[in-house]
């Protein structure tokens, strides 16, 4: 009983392989030496302190926040209508349409990125934050649809009918019944789509032009060995924020699924 089975050992090794490298990043970010290697020379928070005084970094952060926020609202807005339609109505082409909406999850990013770049340039749209937002929205919609579908799945149609039956009109029903019940799902979708955009590199790299987002900025800094500790610190912050956002999103998503039972 006490002896771990082969399967348990395999699981532990597997998880270690997956996550240990990720944990090395924060570890080295506290290293006072400039080379990311063992042994650790000493502990410091300097790399984190220096982050606040780098203007290009703050610009990139600002870009990422704008792109992430706009993407989150655009993708969630579209996802809301799509998810409601997929769950509620049976119409010809529903499965095909749902498949197409979900496709960005599996299409290689490099293909999407290069073809979008060609498309945008051919219609006269210069690489900018706008094109990044368009690309990220395309990428984030399937996440939003998946989350909101689970929110609508448990939604009893008769709740909306009960509202009509009690004298409320379509808009009032959406405001007083549909929205509050799906709200946790909407929050979850906003957080997840924001994170998807915030962490995305390939599309942003191709489409951002002279306005880098944070991941693009990080990539550009990796070329300078002297900047490496700063980059590690920045990456650690990014990691922590992303995980926190996704945890909060998951809490909301579960609440939306449970609230309807």
């Amino acid at each position: 009983m006490t002896r771990p089975s082969g399967l348990a050992i395999y699981t532990i090794l597997y998880l270690a392989f997956l996550y240990l490298p990720v944990l090395l990043l924060p570890l080295f970010s506290f290293n006072s030496g400039t080379i990311a290697a063992f042994p650790i020379k000493g502990w410091t928070l300097d790399w984190y302190r220096q982050l606040g005084s780098q203007q290009t970094l703050l610009d990139a952060l600002g870009n990422s926040l704008i792109v992430g926020a706009v993407t989150a609202f655009a993708a969630t807005g579209m996802g809301l209508f799509a998810a409601r339609a997929y769950v509620r109505y049976r119409f010809p082409g529903r499965a095909a349409s749902e498949g197409l909406v979900m496709l960005p999850l599996v299409v290689p990013g490099i293909i999407v990125a290069s073809s979008m770049l060609v498309l945008f340039i051919s219609i006269g749209l210069k690489p900018s934050l706008t094109t990044v937002i368009l690309g990220h929205t395309f990428l984030a919609v399937p996440f939003s649809v998946a989350i909101l579908k689970s929110a609508f799945d448990g939604f009893d149609v008769s709740l909306e009918e009960a509202s009509y039956d009690l004298g409320e009109n379509a808009f009032g029903t959406f405001r007083r019944v549909t929205l509050p019940i799906v709200a946790p799902g909407i929050v979850a979708s906003l957080l997840v789509t924001f994170t998807v955009s915030f962490d995305e590199f390939v599309l942003a790299f191709f489409l951002s032009g002279s306005e880098p987002t944070l991941p693009v900025y990080i990539w550009s800094q990796i070329r300078f060995p002297a900047k490496l500790p700063n980059t590690l610190a920045l990456g650690s912050v990014l990691l922590l924020v992303s995980v926190l956002l996704l945890v909060v999103a998951e809490i909301f998503r579960r609440r939306s699924a449970r609230g309807l039972a």
């Binding site: 009893d156 008769s158 009918e161 009960a162 039956d165 009690l166 007083r176 019940i181 609230g259």
Partner: protein, 366 residues
């Protein structure tokens, strides 16, 4: 009191693509009536209810509520309210806000709302539970909240879609009486949809039995049981032994019939199953057959058979008895008076019937 009917359906059809859910439905309901639409699932009864509520528009025909044509009037502007099968309690609102929901969309003065909500909750015996969350309610309480939420609107007609199907058996029986009492005290017309014949019979003034989108018979529970218009209705309302029979003579209100197994018998004509055919079906309710080990004095005819199967229900015992000349075994039910099961499979028994309890079910179409 209004002189006209509270609800009138005139030749209402509802088609979904090629599928006809309801066809030629005509119905007249009087104010203050407890009316049930009864039928198997998919017979169109729920569609009919949803057309009255305004969730679906008839493909053809007219629905009038309180004398007013409802064509083009959506659910939120009809004088009806509905208790949904799932109860549809708003999960994000507490009991008080659930009940007040309709009043708040209807321009009722704020000061009046609290009073009406508390009255409605009192009516369904949930007084003082305004602050209780929707998630903290039991099944029975959810149903009461759904009732209060509809009744607080003071509808002319309350529509109930399978209101008891989500409750366990004991609660269901208790709610049957409570719903009936509530309806009698309020004097509102209740229209209920159910697939449970006992529910329909115990609560309703009249029942409309539907099959395959058509109304087969509208009658009081007693008449439906005693004088069903055809075999489908007879078999849906309680148990029924159905036998083919041939009519040998008709005189006024009586028929002379020849039945397999039982022979010749004089029975009453069924005004609901108007038929002049020679080949008809007749039915006998299981409790109208006497079963005994010896030939009894009772009954117009008695014949011998062999017990095939015994089903013990507790309050009654059902015997299935095979008889010479009859294709299917006859079912006879006996009240469990003395906690004894008198006959065993294989026993030879006598079945006795009286002509008065044999029901004319009209022309034999099979």
């Amino acid at each position: 009191m209004t002189a006209h009917p509270i609800i009138e359906l005139r030749d209402v059809d509802k088609r979904f693509g090629a599928f006809t859910a309801v066809s030629g439905l005509s119905l007249t309901l009087e104010p203050g009536e407890f009316f049930s639409l009864l039928g198997p699932s998919g017979c169109g009864k729920t569609t009919a209810l949803r057309m009255i509520a305004g969730f679906q528009e008839p493909s053809d025909g007219t629905i009038l509520i309180d004398g007013q044509d409802m064509t083009g009037i959506p659910a939120n502007r009809r004088p009806t309210n509905m208790v949904f099968q799932s109860y549809a309690i708003f999960p994000h609102l507490n009991v008080g806000d659930n009940v007040a929901y309709g009043l708040r969309s209807g321009g009722i003065a704020k000061g009046e709302i609290a009073g009406r909500v508390s009255d409605a909750l009192g009516m369904v015996e949930l007084g003082g539970l305004e602050k209780r969350g929707a998630g903290e309610l039991s099944g029975g309480q959810r149903q009461r909240v759904a009732l209060a939420r509809a009744l607080v609107m003071r509808p002319k007609v309350l529509l109930l879609d399978e209101p008891l199907s989500a409750l366990d058996k004991r609660l269901r029986e208790q709610m049957q009486f409570e719903l009936r009492d509530l309806q009698q005290n309020l004097g509102i017309t209740f229209v209920m949809v159910t697939h449970d014949q006992y529910e329909a019979m115990t609560m309703s003034d009249r029942i409309g039995v539907m099959f395959a989108g058509k109304l087969a018979q509208v009658d009081t529970p007693e008449q439906l049981y005693a004088r069903p218009c055809n075999r489908d209705v007879a078999e849906f309302i309680g148990g029924m032994n159905v036998l083919p029979a041939s009519v040998s003579a008709r005189e006024g209100e009586g028929l002379d019939v020849e039945m397999p197994g039982f022979g010749r018998l004089g029975i009453a004509r069924n005004p609901n199953a108007l038929s002049t055919a020679t080949d008809i079906l007749v039915g006998i309710r299981p409790e109208q057959i006497e079963i005994a080990a010896d030939r009894s004095e009772w009954g117009d005819v008695a014949v011998q058979g062999r017990v095939e199967h015994v089903a013990f229900y507790g309050e009654t015992i059902h015997y299935r008895v095979a008889m010479q000349g009859v294709d299917r075994p006859m079912t006879a039910s006996v009240p469990n008076h003395f906690h004894t099961v008198d006959h065993r499979p294989g026993d030879s028994v006598w079945l006795a019937i009286e002509g008065a309890s044999v029901i004319d079910l009209g022309k034999n179409d099979t």
